[in-house]
Chain length 210, copies 2
Amino acid sequence: MEDREISQAVIGRLPRYFRYLGELRDQGIERVSSQELSDIMRVTASQIRQDLNNFGGFGQQGYGYNVGYLYSEIGKILGLNKEHNLIIVGAGHLGQALVNYMNFERRGFIFRGIFDSNEKIQGTRIRGIEVRPMQEMERFVRENDIDIAVLTIPKTGAVQVAEQLVSCGVKGFWNFAHVDLHVPDNIQVESVHLSDSLMKLSYNLLSHSE
Amino acid sequence: MEDREISQAVIGRLPRYFRYLGELRDQGIERVSSQELSDIMRVTASQIRQDLNNFGGFGQQGYGYNVGYLYSEIGKILGLNKEHNLIIVGAGHLGQALVNYMNFERRGFIFRGIFDSNEKIQGTRIRGIEVRPMQEMERFVRENDIDIAVLTIPKTGAVQVAEQLVSCGVKGFWNFAHVDLHVPDNIQVESVHLSDSLMKLSYNLLSHSE
DNA sequence: TAGATTGTTAATCGATTAACAATC
DNA sequence: TAGATTGTTAATCGATTAACAATC
């Protein structure tokens, strides 16, 4: 789709631009220069212009960027104008937290099904969505055009479940299990390793306490 | 504490080394070469050696690295041999998920208090820890030597709460609110922006669907 | 038009990889 | 000792910043 591959460093900054532009828009601000955005976001103006120009010229010399337009363009680049059908595997506290967070739906990420191996919670509902047994997962994925699976299960099961899901057509994983998933090249994995994040904080606390 | 500042790129990889070494240790493996580790972790052997040598020579020529020793040394570098007292602000689903995740305690991150502005859940207990009103937070932080605050509240309140916590001695934030915290230089912030992560996945799905 | 600010090229900086001498 | 593998220097690669011509 892209002419040249965009680096993950750039991709990683897009949601942050998107967030700040949304805030400016909500404040009724219509235009912004790379320098103004630089002051607010604490990144260099040069980087902002360089990043945006990976995707085309959204600005205008002498004027800057139109906030609403840029916001919507970045949204499109991120694919937020498209809908995704998700399932969540693992209905523990974290799984429930994610299902209950409405903002994902607002951005086009729709939870279609929840799966858990614990019989006690099967049949209960989380925000109206029934918790189903794992045995129903494969069929559900095929029948409901699921493209993203959210894994909020312990690491022991994650690799096998991921494999199973790849085989029935899931294209992307949002992985909260503390394990690295190795999947085919055409499958995307975005991992959130919470304990890694906490360890980083721990290191930085130590190294700055002198 | 360090002679030269270690880059965040390196720090970010340490927890992953730690994880893989822990797994090797649990398998009863005693030694590992950078090349073997490279094969398992899918990073270059050169990078592993380079990263580790930021902190000193943990290996031995002709032998490699002792798994148990390296594991424990990386743990120390990450500060996992020290205890941290945490509070969590926001007892919603995400807050509950984190409090209930025992592995953090195993690594020395002890939840001491939970705070929430919702009167209905004040007084209830999560894993034995009482949910307290926000008004008690400042005093609690001072009296219980709290050094890390976990913010699982909506972004509207986060900036103000963080300011308040800095003023009573909190040194680090694990921030799940969808906002960037600007704190003094001696205070550490580690943010987990879940929706940013999901947007990255969305981009990568789009860009690889051709 | 003159001033402002982008888009883009060139320069710099930092991180990764390669290579190899040191050494166990 | 000979073989293996680290620690570390040098080379490469990529990302960030600076600079400025193009242009609105």
